[in-house]
């Protein structure tokens, strides 16, 4: 096999893997803090991405300002989601399935709203470092992809420190694991849950501005990203943000190598078959078992 093609497929697979991982990171963060599987995580990315598009195209903001603002729009969407929809459902004793249905419904509503307001056009966001590429050997690496990988790793490490070392992160974890116990220690459990969703929204918004230059932003991108992110998070271990990235990169690499080594027509079949084998062998995900030690 052509070595250059193999290396190129690895680079592409890792890049795609970090895209899946970024969405999975947000999913894992929300699951860790609320025990809710958020089916609209990809739509937080859509909200962030479309906010960046509007700020750049309609208001002509500088790229960096638009990107920062878009990330916070994602965070605000998460905040509002918890406050206006998740909290009332919790008050009425919503089950795990009802949260899944709620977030899935909101995902469709967000997609329809973007279609109605912005239209069906795809929008290409400018990449960090433009559309430039670095050529190593004969392998092309997009400069923006390098930024995406670096930022995703930084976010993953920051979340690890946040949930493991900071008082706020530990409070959010406590609120998720034992709400009544957390209340007795003075933790404001409802606020922690709202903050968890805001954090998930922030990570989702960040995913939106980072994937926008690679895959373009369009109204129904959210659900596809959620599905890939969900697969990444499950593969890595849903309660572990680091697992989401490891799972995402594994999935991205499997897809990419399946194209080169087997056939592009069987990409999903090969990747998903290997995922099934992994999940049977390691039902808690790639990093799931280690996380639970002592927990």
């Amino acid at each position: 096999m052509d070595l250059t093609l193999l290396l190129q497929s690895i680079v592409t697979g890792v890049t795609n893997g970090f895209i899946y991982g970024l969405v999975g990171l947000g999913l894992a963060a929300i699951f860790r803090g609320t025990r809710i599987i958020n089916a609209m995580q990809g739509d937080f990315a859509l909200i962030g991405g479309i906010a960046a598009v509007l700020l750049l195209e309609k208001l002509a903001w500088p790229v960096w300002a638009a990107f920062f603002a878009a990330v916070f729009v994602g965070g605000a969407a998460g905040w509002l989601m918890e406050l206006l929809l998740v909290r009332p459902l919790r008050r009425r004793g919503g089950s795990e399935e009802s949260y899944l249905l709620l977030t899935l419904g909101v995902a469709f509503a967000v997609s329809a709203l973007v279609l109605y307001v912005v239209g069906r056009d795809s929008h290409a966001l400018p990449g960090i470092g433009g559309d430039g590429i670095v050529v190593v050997g004969d392998v092309a690496i997009r400069i923006h992809a390098l930024w995406l990988v670096s930022i995703a790793v930084a976010v993953m490490l920051a979340l690890r420190v946040f949930f493991g070392k900071t008082a706020l992160g530990l409070s959010m974890m406590a609120a998720a694991l034992d709400a009544e116990g957390a209340l007795t220690t003075g933790i404001d459990v409802p606020l922690m849950r709202t903050l968890t969703f805001a954090l998930g929204g922030l990570v989702g918004g960040l995913a939106g501005v980072l994937v926008g230059p690679l895959v373009t932003v369009y109204f129904d991108m959210g659900l596809l990203l959620t599905l890939k992110g969900f697969a990444a998070a499950i593969l890595g271990g849903l309660a572990n943000p680091m697992g989401a990235v490891v799972g995402g990169v594994t999935l991205g690499l499997l897809e990419s190598l399946a194209i080169v080594m087997v056939s592009s027509g069987y990409k999903d079949v090969v990747a998903m078959a290997i995922l099934i084998v992994i999940m049977i062998a390691m039902p808690n995900g790639l990093l799931g078992r280690r996380l639970r030690k002592g927990g």
């Binding site: 190129q8 795609n16 895209i19 069906r120 795809s122 290409a124 559309d131 092309a140 080169v260 592009s264």
Partner: protein, 382 residues
């Protein structure tokens, strides 16, 4: 004096009333019961990129025909339904329009599978159906009231190969295509490429809606083709092909040519050739009126699918004018079959075996240069 004044005033008033009445009649010549026509289009779902433009063209034609007095003095009323890009919904919407609204003809659907589903209904009734697809499964050839506003996929494949083989004189072709529209065209490229002395050195497929096809693009590049065909209903493969440093000419098909995709391509919307039918930046004489009207009404430039909607309504209007709106389904279908129509898309001949009669010579070739379509001098079939 006062009697004269009253007389003069009465005359002025009478003249004014007559003038206002005449003006009203001129502005609204079409009256009487409306002629109801149904349209089933993909306005949501994966086919929305086709159905949306088709609706634009249909509505513009309806407005234009009614402004010009309708058909035999009666206004045209087109009832548009969304099939959600699903064949079963298309069929039930068509049945509701036929039996509930009592339409005299159907326009659409936008997708091949939906066209086949609706055609089983219209065929049994002999009702004219002007669909926005090319000839699909073989059984469609036996449906005598089904007419196609777009060319069959073998012709789209041939139009691409004409430019690749004769225009570029390329010998080695690599193709990047999706599993929907791209697969349909690719099947015929595989049947026809030898006629043009073209060898296919790489074929890479990806699913419709894929967000990244860089690895497939890298695989096509590794095969060192002279030219790369990209056939998809998305801007993603065009971006990825250039990002993976495919510097060879890219040739694409009519279904990939849309302003929406050009926007999504961003800076990569450059040096891409399309075998299509309308270059609105530089329209042919018979396309000018439509392009100008479309731009005035919609504020944007039309492409092939907008024009197909416009043409379908005009073909039907011509048949209704000839046969009469109340002549019955079979007489209207017979009038369409007998008609030759110089449309915006192409010269139609609905008695042809493929029920459209579009010829290779109707294709026009455009090249995207920095996000703008430019007409190429190349002519197919020469």
């Amino acid at each position: 004096m006062s009697r004269n004044f009253i007389r003069r005033s009465s005359r002025v008033l009478l003249w004014a009333l007559v003038s206002v009445g005449a003006a009203g009649a001129a502005a609204q010549q079409a009256d009487g019961p409306p002629i109801k026509v149904g349209a089933v289009l993909s306005l949501t779902g994966p086919g929305a990129g086709l159905g949306g433009p088709e609706r634009n063209g249909i509505q513009l034609a309806e407005k234009r025909i009614n402004e010009r007095g309708g058909i035999r003095g009666r206004p045209l009323r087109i009832i548009i339904e969304d099939d959600g890009s699903k064949a079963d919904i298309a069929k039930s919407k068509a049945e509701a329009l036929i039996h509930g609204e009592k339409v005299v003809a159907l326009l659409g659907p936008s997708l091949t599978a939906s066209t086949g589903a609706v055609a089983t209904v219209t065929h049994s009734l002999g009702m004219p159906q002007l669909c926005m697809t090319g000839l699909g499964p073989v059984i469609e050839s036996s449906y005598k009231s089904l007419f196609h506003m777009l060319p069959p996929q073998p012709l789209n494949a041939r139009a691409m190969l004409e430019y690749i083989g004769k225009g570029l004189k390329a010998k080695k072709l690599g193709v990047l295509h999706d599993s929907g529209y791209g697969q349909l065209v690719m099947t015929h490229i595989q049947n026809l490429h030898k006629e043009y002395g073209v060898e296919i050195v790489a074929t890479e497929k990806f699913e419709v809606g894929a967000t990244d096809v860089s690895t497939q693009a890298a695989k096509v590049r590794a095969a060192s083709p002279d030219v790369v065909g990209v056939i998809a209903t998305s801007p993603v493969p065009f971006r990825n092909a250039r990002q993976m440093r495919i510097t060879q000419p890219i040739v694409s098909a009519v279904g990939s040519s849309s302003y929406e995709y050009v926007k999504g391509m961003g800076d990569f919307a450059d040096e891409i050739v399309f075998a299509e039918f309308i270059v609105s930046e530089d329209p042919l004489p018979h396309q000018k009126e439509f392009v100008e009207l479309f731009q005035k009404e919609k504020g944007s430039l039309p492409k092939t699918y907008d024009a197909a909607g416009w043409d379908a309504v005009h073909v039907l209007a011509q048949a209704l004018e000839k046969a009469g709106p109340d002549a019955g389904s079979e007489a209207i279908a017979a009038a369409i079959r007998a008609s030759r129509y110089r449309g915006v898309v192409a010269q139609y001949n609905f008695s042809a075996a493929d029920m459209t009669g579009i010829e290779l010579e109707s294709y026009t070739y455009s090249k995207l240069i920095k996000g703008r379509y430019t007409r190429l001098p190349f002519k197919a079939g020469k």
